[in-house]
Amino acid sequence: MKTRLLLDRRQFLKVGAAAGGGLLITSWLGCRGSGGGGDGMPPEFDLEAFIRIEADGSVTIMAQNPEVGQGVKTELPMLIADELDVAWKDVTVEQADLNTEHYHRQVAGGSTSTPTQWLPMRRVGAAGRAVLVSAAAATWGVPTAEIETSAGVAHHQASGRSLTYGELAAKAASMPTPDPESVPLKDPADFRIIGTPIAGVDNPSIVTGKPLYGIDVVRPGMLYAVFEKCPVFGGEVKTANLDEIRSEPGVRHVFVVEGGDNLSGLLGGVAVVADSWWLAHSARKKLRVTWDEGSTASQSTDGFARKASELFANAPEQALRDDGDVESALQSVRRKVEAEYAYPFIAHAPLEPQNCTAHYQDGKLELWAPTQTPAGGRQLVAETLGMSQGDITLHLTRAGGGFGRRLSNDYLVEAARIAKEVGVPVKLLWSREDCMHHDFYRPAGFHRLEGGVDAAGRLVAWRDHFVSLGRGGRFAPSAGISSDEFPAGYVPGFSLGASLIPCGVPTGALRAPGSNALAFVFQSFIDELAHAAGKDPVLFRLDLLAARSGETRLDAGRMKAVLEMVAARADWGANARLPDGTGKGVAFHFSHRGYFAEVVQARVSRAGKVAVEKVWVVGDIGRQVINPLNAENNAQGGVMDGLSQALGQEITISGGRTRQGNFDAYPLLRHRDRPEVDIHFLVTENSPTGLGEPALPPVIPALCNAIFAVTGKRIRSLPISKHDLSPS
């Protein structure tokens, strides 16, 4: 180690020499208890680096966060490369493994990579550039201030001298790490990579079928595992015909795994390990297990709906927010609207089924997995197997989709447990039915709403009784609501309360958690109130945004700007000229730091079939779209995902088990269903924020509002496919 540089309060940089004489820039985290080198010296690193520059000028940049299709494996290295001032064509990107000593927050979730890494990644690159400049200055005996860089070359204009980064790398490795205060970041006008369209770094491998994903991992002597869990969540094995299965072709191990109480940890089941996945899967079909199904076996989605109706008859169990006097406000309104809304459980269904390859040997465990939260996964495995985290290595593979499913690491702990039993490398792979039956579903929810507009057509009263899932006053995972959720803070008489239904069905975050459901409910009900007020839905919303009356995080100015722009781009004023059977709906939503307003144009046939023709999206994610090529793709994906949820996705539970097993019963949006999508990012003077989530929520209510515009039928429960939209 030479010297170190503070990146943020927890993260330091180190400049050193790479094997072979190049430059290596690594980082380490100074947090306590990280297993690092204490508060003085960092541990030695050879392989883990942010930046490696070889003598031949080749540049390798490590991508620290898990890639699940959001484009972060390209985006974060772009930030480093631009500040380092190298040409993107000279950069090779490598995926980092989990390393909590080097990397801060190796997470894919919550649209957080951009807002949390925007400055730290740039500082890494800028520090790299600074040491190369120092090396050039020392070589030439000139002040650093006289040195310029471009595309991997340092220049001294006065003397006409130039050296490539490759030529400077060895010397740079002996330079002191620069003072963080003196490392300048580029003026955005000087960005050469940030803000330019950069294709995904894995595209060449993807289009030629190279192994990239967790499911593609192969280890010498590897066996293949399947794991049968109780179809009722949390059930345990009573008996199983293990001896019979043992004699099936290719089967090497069959054993019962005892589970714990943690629904997102290791659950009970039977592991079948064989010479190939097909043999393991085939043997499993002959498995006969009797289960102790437990108390969840009595639960069902119908039962939850009945319970919600009962709870609506009473006052909410808990008050979450009260502004003004909603009761008297509701009594004095000109028009009052009451409605009940509901949305179902839905599954994540990433296309790559859950999998993890594990090898347990001599008290050490090596894992290869597609996970959005590798540090959480390692911790879960360590706690469950009674291991030290330091004895577990976790390699990050590209993930065939995440959508929040891989925030949970149940499949890692299953693979680890099986590997510990069999002692050779083993790849656990779930079937599609396993994935559908054992998800952490977007929680179902129910809202009883009352709202009212005054004589001037303004929204003055709003009461929501939210019936959600949970127990003992605590919401189930991702089943909660912020007391700040719009229109909170914009209605003088406002009340939000909640009641909870105990639920044994595991729930979790699904892309734009909370928002993917709440935007549907609130932006649809706001539409109802706009119609009750006799006002145009865009104007009604603009009036609402102008009437802030209480505390809220939502910046009305930013939302107003995207709403006005999307109305203009969608030619909202010309709605009356749309052909018969076609209509537009509008909605906006603030989530994950992003402001999005969207318009959907939909056609409803005489038979009641919905076709989404076009979607206009205007988003404000701050002053810099880092990779416009990927941003457009990601936002299009959010739109398609939201439409898919709205149109057809629903998980039903009966007997405590999931009734849908595959894509025949759980229809996803298909090629023919795609609308045209117009995407525009409104650049504002705000720090750059993420895009994985916030483009999704508004499209659902915008579609439902468009269907109302065509049919006069209000969609108050999802999916839309359950409604008869033919003229009646």
Partner: protein
């Protein structure tokens, strides 16, 4: 019973259970990982390969049924990733997670092989069985049109950009 067939131009003989789907024979017996498992019931198209030139769901195709036939996988779509669809997919940045894209490319390339200038409706019809959970359908659709345009232009110019197919006769020069 051993089964013999051609994969990307190479003859292979496998001794695997006769009911093993071609998907698992490719992935686990032949270590060709490009063909993907998504559903196992021919509902998602991630496992699409060419069987005697026709797009086929390998997850429901018993390996015993391909005896004597020719299979082309994504690894054999071109020798070096130079099929116009592969080029366009890279340049237009079609993939998000990328998991479905091998299947999309195999279905799209089979379409273009028989219909060099498909209409929007013909693309819809051909591609509707291939799910993309990330929702890259707009770029897939535009990418097929763009590849078709390039192939037509190359064909007019004398075939310089025409795809080279490993599956035809050349054999696999690169194996993963």
């Amino acid at each position: 019973m051993p089964v013999t067939f051609k994969v990307n131009g190479n003859p292979v003989t496998l001794d695997v259970p006769s009911d093993m789907p071609l998907l698992w024979a490719l992935r686990d017996a032949l270590d060709l990982k490009g063909t993907k498992f998504g559903c196992g019931i021919a509902m998602c198209g991630a496992c699409t390969v060419h069987l005697d030139g026709k797009p086929t769901r390998s997850c429901v195709t018993p390996v015993s049924s391909v005896e004597g036939r020719a299979v082309v996988t994504i690894e054999g779509l071109s020798l070096d990733g130079s099929h116009p669809l592969q080029r366009v997919w890279r340049e237009m940045d079609v993939p998000q997670c990328g998991y479905c894209q091998a299947g999309q490319l195999m279905t799209a390339s089979a379409l273009l092989a028989t219909n060099p200038r498909p209409t929007d409706e013909e693309i819809d019809e051909a591609m509707n069985g291939n799910l993309c959970r990330c929702g890259t359908y707009l770029r897939i659709h535009a990418g097929i049109h763009e590849a078709a345009r390039r192939m037509a232009a190359a064909s007019e110019a004398g075939g310089a950009d025409a795809p080279t197919r490993a599956g035809a006769s050349a054999g696999m020069e690169e194996r993963p």
